[in-house]
């Protein structure tokens, strides 16, 4: 029952934030623990890994973070709304496969493929939401089922359409250059080249934060995840909010799928499996509760940033590669523990 109290917390908190001094308001935000964790990991690798100090290394870290962070922003909203999406990892690959094959086999122009993939991804999100409501099963099970089905479909349909298990190179098709400029170009800041995915990631995180904290829909998301029955009783369209959140995840995986397609030109149909857990981990490190009703979109960006720093930092530090996954796991554990400890201190200090 203690979770019930936890769920109601953010709404109370935001009302208090008006009267509190600024530093207190900042310290009680859900993402503050992730910020502390991120700073700690950053300082750690700055000390142990000299190449990590280069500005170009920072660009690489940001890029790795953005490929986890873009879906993680949408996943964090979904988790605040009280649901999981395990299909998000392979859905990225589904989207790039669909765009590539539709463009090559049917349309002859990549933009038509891009549009087709968007409809498909939103459709998968919609299906996840509708299945959840129809079956009344936990979203963990529903999306596990769609995850496994998509994994099979990715390979089976690719094989049917192309005869192989990877799509052909689309880099010569009409519309490729403009699509690449939109989804996968690079931006020059002084001497540093940053992938446009990083800019989209930051923009999405800011937009989602604004949506959560400053709009009616944001209030609905917190209410639906915190106390669904009460939310329904006060007239919030719970089903529509949940389906909408799944479709939002669909949009985010479509976006990342387009980036992957136009950055790497061909798609391996077996890719994407396992990434859904990274999105969920980023959201949780960023302050989302597994029970819903509490969390932060900006926090998910910090969570993805911690992950990006860790995976790249291990390489910059030149640690024994056999231990790679161990180091990644240990650093994530450390970041999460610091995060929880800090959050505990901060909310007690209130």
């Amino acid at each position: 029952m203690s979770t019930t109290a936890g769920r109601a917390e953010p709404r109370v908190m935001r009302r208090q934030a008006v009267r509190q001094p600024l530093w207190k308001a900042v310290l009680t935000r859900p993402e503050v623990g992730a910020l502390a964790g991120a700073i700690l990991v950053f300082i750690f690798f700055t000390i142990v890994a000299p190449p990590f100090r280069q500005v170009s290394a920072f660009a690489t870290v940001l890029y790795q973070s953005s490929t986890v962070g873009i879906p993680a922003v949408a996943v964090s909203l979904l988790m605040i709304g009280g649901e999981f999406d395990l299909s998000a990892g392979v859905a990225v690959t589904t989207s790039s496969l669909a765009a590539s094959m539709f463009a090559i086999e049917v349309a002859g122009n990549v933009w038509v493929g891009v549009g087709f993939a968007l409809l498909l991804s939103l459709g998968i999100g919609w299906l996840n939401g509708v299945l959840l409501i129809w079956t009344r099963l936990p979203s963990f099970l529903v999306t596990l089922a769609t995850f496994l089905m998509l994994q099979g479909l990715n390979i089976a349909i690719t094989k049917l359409v192309t005869g192989g298990v990877a799509t052909a190179d689309i880099s010569g098709m009409p519309g490729f250059d403009s699509a690449q400029a939109v989804f996968a170009s690079s931006v020059q800041f002084g001497r540093v080249t940053i992938s446009i995915a990083v800019l989209y990631w930051i923009a999405f995180a800011l937009l989602a934060t604004w949506l959560l904290l400053r709009t009616k829909i944001g209030n609905w998301i917190f209410a639906v995840g915190g106390q669904g029955d009460s939310a329904r009783a006060v007239g919030i369209p719970v089903r529509r909010v949940k389906i909408g959140l799944f479709m939002l995840v669909g949009f985010a995986v479509w976006f990342l799928g387009m980036h992957m397609l136009f950055a790497y030109n061909t798609v391996q149909s077996g890719a994407g499996v396992g990434n859904e857990l990274l999105y969920i981990a980023s959201a949780v490190v960023g302050g989302c509760l597994l029970t819903g009703g509490y969390g932060s979109a900006a926090g998910s960006a910090l969570g993805a940033f911690i992950f990006g720093m860790t995976t790249e930092g291990v390489i910059y530090a030149d640690w024994d590669p056999d231990w790679f996954m161990f180091f990644v796991g240990a650093m994530l554990l450390l970041a999460t523990v610091v995060n929880t400890w800090f959050r505990g201190r901060a909310s007690r200090g209130r």
């Binding site: 170009s56 290394a57 690489t60 390979i155 690719t158 192989g164 190179d169 790497y264 890719a271 499996v273």
Partner: protein
């Protein structure tokens, strides 16, 4: 570029036609004359890997020619692959072509199959273990020899410091490749693990390694799908490193033609799949064994700018 693209589409159409022909023909011939035997092909291939698809096409071609029914099964985990052997025994197949990627985990399942009188041929993985396991023959590339050949090649290309990009940490045959390189290579070799086919992560990690150690002058990828990613990573890191790879894909073929990929070590997966099934057929119909007690080697052969022309047309079909 447009012209290239049209060719690409044609190639796909051709490969679809070829692929479906290869898969349909056993069924269509069975209408006239039902298959004599059922052979199982059991691999540790990851689903959705282009390399394993070529092996399967080779096996399907042999099955069509020999008029046998082919059952293709794959599981990338040790216990999963061993379980598939047990499944095949229970289906009473007439022969099993098996990749010995996890020799110890598969040992008891292999014994069961032998007790059931099912002939077994090893292929692709397990070049050091197939005799001990009592298989009838083995067709594939000796990964250590292939690695050693790559080490020599790096020496002759004047490399002093190289990285070996490994996409499946813990897979024996990939480790044998890296270790083979270490044996003959005079420079410093680093192993870099990347997570499966997540290209964004693979690229970031290669860029990070190049930034961490600017003295690296060669990247060897253990899987050809990583070649375009490595080439891109080199551009991003502003490095001058060259790229070589194990295995082939159509895009690797293009990059060799453009001079961005120095060479590819081809183990001819189509031949591995084809020969494994054909050797089972020879044994069942005539009691023959091939190789004279030694492995039948399908590689290593180096595909370079000099000989790419002939290889390219088959790679476009998806059979090399």
């Amino acid at each position: 570029m447009n012209n290239l693209n049209k060719k690409g589409v044609l190639a796909i159409a051709a490969s679809v036609a070829l692929g479906s022909a290869a898969f349909l023909s056993p069924a269509s011939s069975s209408a006239a004359d039902s298959p004599h035997y059922t052979f199982a092909m059991i691999t540790h291939g990851q689903p959705g890997d282009a390399f394993w698809d070529i092996i399967r096409k080779g096996a399907a071609a042999a099955a069509a020619k020999d008029n046998v029914k082919l059952v293709y099964l794959a599981n990338p985990t040790a216990s999963g692959e061993a379980q598939l052997v047990t499944n095949a025994i229970q289906q009473h197949v007439d022969g099993i072509a098996l990749t010995l990627a996890f020799p110890d985990a598969e040992a008891s399942a292999v014994k069961q199959a032998q007790a059931a009188g099912i002939p077994m041929i090893g292929f692709n993985a397990g070049g050091n273990d197939w005799k001990r396991a009592g298989l009838l023959g083995y067709v594939g590339q000796d990964e250590t020899i292939a690695g050693e050949a790559v080490g020599e090649r790096l020496n002759s290309d004047g490399s002093k410091s190289a990285i070996c990009v490994d996409q499946q940490q813990g897979a024996v045959q990939l480790e044998e490749r890296c270790n083979g390189i270490k044996k003959t290579y005079h420079g410093n070799l680093f192993v870099l693990y990347v997570p499966g086919y997540d290209m964004a992560s693979a690229q970031s990690r290669i860029v990070a390694k190049l930034q961490q150690d600017p003295s690296i002058d060669y990247i060897v990828t253990l899987g050809a799908p990583f070649v375009p990613t490595a080439v891109h990573a080199i551009q991003m890191a502003g490095s001058k490193a060259k790229v070589g790879t194990f295995d082939l894909t159509p895009s690797a073929v293009n990059l060799i033609q453009q001079g961005q990929l120095q060479w590819a070590v081809d183990q001819q997966p189509f031949v591995e799949g084809y020969e494994a099934i054909d050797m089972l057929w020879l044994y069942k119909t005539n009691g023959d064994t091939v190789g004279g007690g030694q492995a039948v080697l399908t590689g290593p052969t180096f595909v370079t700018k000099e000989n790419i022309g002939e290889v390219a047309k088959y790679a476009k079909q998806g059979t090399r």
